[in-house]
Amino acid sequence: MSHRYAGISWNPQKRAYDLMVAAGVVLYLVTFLALSSLLHPAATAETLLIRGFGSCAFLLLNVVLCIGPLCRLDSRYLPLLYNRRHLGVTTFLLGMVHGAFSLFQLHTLGDSDPLISLFTANRNYQSLADFPFQPLGFLALLILFLMSATSHDFWLRNLTPRVWKSLHMLVYAAYGLLVAHVTLGLLQSERSPWLVAAMGTSLALVLSLHVAAARKERELDDSTPKAQEENYVKVCAVSEIPEKCAKLVSLRGERVAIFKFDGKISALSNVCRHQNGPLGEGRIIDGCVTCPWHGFQYQPESGAAPEPFTEKVSTFRTKLVDGCVWLDPHPLPPGTYIEPSRIGRS
């Protein structure tokens, strides 16, 4: 949870994660290169390296994009999300090897600067079929570079979570650019329907997982309060909230996590200040609400992170009436202490 520019704090889980990623990448590259050399002895090493690294980066980006919605649908996959940025950096590095090899092969040793050549060698920008696909890959790589370079929490802190999140949402733009890069490039030259099917399947998987996750979120946002009275709305029965967990409600477009712990009820914003993780899917551990994404913690009564950390989220007033939780939907300034409602006193 450090915001200092410190090295990675390794632990056995993190090591296992990175070893798996490295093994997967090596396995992919070795399989592709060995099999291609065997099946296509006339293929040049440069072409196979360009294709191997490029396809590996693209597949990995598909995996990266699937992790978010997968975790929204099933929290058992959260270990994949915890170190997702390592996957992102690996994707960029693989893409960079692909891009560097391609730039060298196709644009250097000629009568023009390679970077200028990248954008001007093929000038058919007005035609979809003939559209230059390499600049698309270059722009995607630029986005992946920006994301990799700012992946440390140091940048999250200094850019502010809002700017950082917006920057990292550009991954969808990078994905779109890469889908176009592959479709207007390799898929126009290769004749195998398997490659088109593989591209279609990966795209469909990414999209369907996002749609399924969005539907689940929408169900929550569409739920309406059971009753309203003065400043409070009735949101749920106390019995609906598991001990040391939360019930998520959506009021006026804002998600609120109502936690039950030690015979008390407290409500705070669902959005973690770290990476907008869903606090309502977290737990109370050591007396603190713990975000399921990266373990950031907040005191349920005040929404403030325990010292020495300084993150704060909004809190909400609650009251209990006849075993039901009533909530004032107006958020209080982040870090505002609110006495928890005590179960059994209503």
Binding site: N11, P12, Q13, K14, M20, G24, V25, L27, Y28, L29, T31, F32, L35, S36, L39, H40, A42, A43, T44, E46, T47, G52, S55, L59, V63, S75, R76, Y77, L78, P79, L80, Y82, Q105, L106, T108, L109, G110, D111, S112, S117, L118, A121, N122, N124, D130, L184, G185, Q188, S189, E190, S192, W194, L195, A198, P242, K244, C245, R283, P292, G295
Partner: protein, 248 residues
Amino acid sequence: MSEFYIGYLSSAPLAIRRRVRLLAAAMVVFAVGGAALFAASQNRFAASFFDYGKPAEFSGSLVLQPYPALLVNRGMAGSSETPYLLVAPGKFGADALVSGREGRNVRLRGTLIHRTEGKMIEIEPSSIQDLGESADRKGRPRDLGFATLSGEIVDTKCFLGVMNPGEGKVHRDCAARCLSGGIPPALVSSDFDGLQRLFLLVGDDGKPLLKSGFLQRAGRPVAISGRIFESQGLYYLSTNEVRIQALE
């Protein structure tokens, strides 16, 4: 209550560990399967070669127009000569390297680039030795008539073996760069006699075709009308910009 995962702890709860292991195993299968699928699905690569790192010596007489070539007689006296198109290192033609040596016998060092459709030498710039005037006289070009051929405009250096694939959309940018640098342009077509052949593109005056006429048309299907002729074992298509039509 379901188990809760915290990444900075040293181990994950058992059920989560099991689920992630299962997924990791699936990902391994996915990685191997994906790599195998891609490797097996690629188009067949042409049997083209660039003997990089293995330079050799070649002797013969030079032809400079319309594109530099070395005519090598490797057989008995009177046997036909094999034409080797000449190019410079990188994405450049050889015009500057052989300028002023029309009809001269030379010995040069270079790297062979070859494919069924033709042979080429990438010259080592300082290796050309002048051996005197060639006794051979250039024969008259053989006129093979007017025709419309469909195919793809390529840069001959990459097509003959420096790149593989040296054609198609993925190679288009490189082709434009090479052609811009003076690598001889050619139409690859099998329309003439059923065999895939290279037809070097020249203007109606028999000189190199203006680059503006073909640079942005490389790497995509075209139909070109013009007069076909053969000279010293190389096929030429004499045309102009107007007679190069893009095919959908």
